[in-house]
């Protein structure tokens, strides 16, 4: 019984943790690695636009393919 109560309490604590404030984990000045060209889907933005267009047509859906900007947090 005691163990059950303890585990329930633990579960509650873990669930409550989800209510804590969400912040960006990586600060703008720490985006050195994220801003590296190797992190982009394609180095050629024009070819990427075509590929995205083809995918949009094929899937019948668009968007959610990433965020805009080079990762410097300035947009």
């Amino acid at each position: 019984m005691k163990a059950l109560r303890a585990s329930l309490f633990l579960l509650l604590v873990l669930q409550a943790a989800a209510c804590s404030r969400i912040e960006p984990w990586v600060k703008p000045y720490e985006r050195e690695r994220l801003a590296d060209p190797i992190m982009s889907w394609d180095r050629d933005p024009i070819s990427l636009a075509y590929i995205t267009h083809v995918r949009d047509s094929r899937e019948g859906a668009r968007g959610a393919s990433g965020a805009a900007g080079g990762g410097c947090g300035c947009n």
Binding site: K27, P28, Y29, E30, R31, E32, A35, D36, G70, C72, G73, C74, N75
Partner: protein
């Protein structure tokens, strides 16, 4: 010692909150937290040493496009207003300043570049965008914070610098 550390933390939080509340760009009036950083050209630079001059602190990195774009413009500003009591420090936020060296070799600037390899000063000033530009007046008060850079923003910098120099 403990009190001093707490005080610095409290002040940093106050400045951080103010910078954050300034949203995108804006005027503030908080004492600029002091820092000492190693300079790229050797030696150390302390913010309080620059008291009496209008100081622009520019947080930049070589991987940040807009930062690279504004560097030559900042250099021009520095050269033009240096005799009038203006100074600029470029705080490089990279953990390894090697890339910055490469960039500066191709695009040399005359203002001092400070190395914040541990990001302590970036934390102290709560840098929430790259680049971030902070203007400190002659008395050591943060008067203006600007986040990011897009073409034309340098005119806003110039207006603010001229106003602070005239004070």
């Amino acid at each position: 010692m403990f009190l001093k550390a707490r005080m610095t933390g409290w002040r940093a939080a106050a400045v951080g909150a103010l910078i954050a509340s300034a949203a995108f760009a804006g005027s503030t009036r908080t004492p600029a937290p002091d820092f000492t950083l190693a300079s790229r050209s050797g030696g150390k630079v302390e913010l309080t040493q620059l008291r009496g001059q209008v100081v622009m602190i520019n947080f930049w990195a070589s991987w940040c496009g807009p930062c690279r774009q504004e560097m030559p413009l900042l250099d021009k500003m520095y050269r033009k207003y240096k005799p009038a009591g203006f100074t600029l420090v470029g705080v490089n936020v990279e953990t390894d300043p090697k890339d910055a060296d490469g960039y500066l070799k191709a695009t040399p600037v005359s203002f001092p570049i400070l190395l914040d390899t541990e990001n302590k000063v970036s934390q102290l000033y709560n840098v929430s965008a790259m680049p971030s530009t902070v203007l400190v007046d002659r008395k050591g008060v943060v008067r203006y914070v600007h986040h990011g850079y897009k073409a034309g923003d340098e005119n806003e910098y110039l207006d603010r610098i001229r106003a602070l120099i005239r004070e």
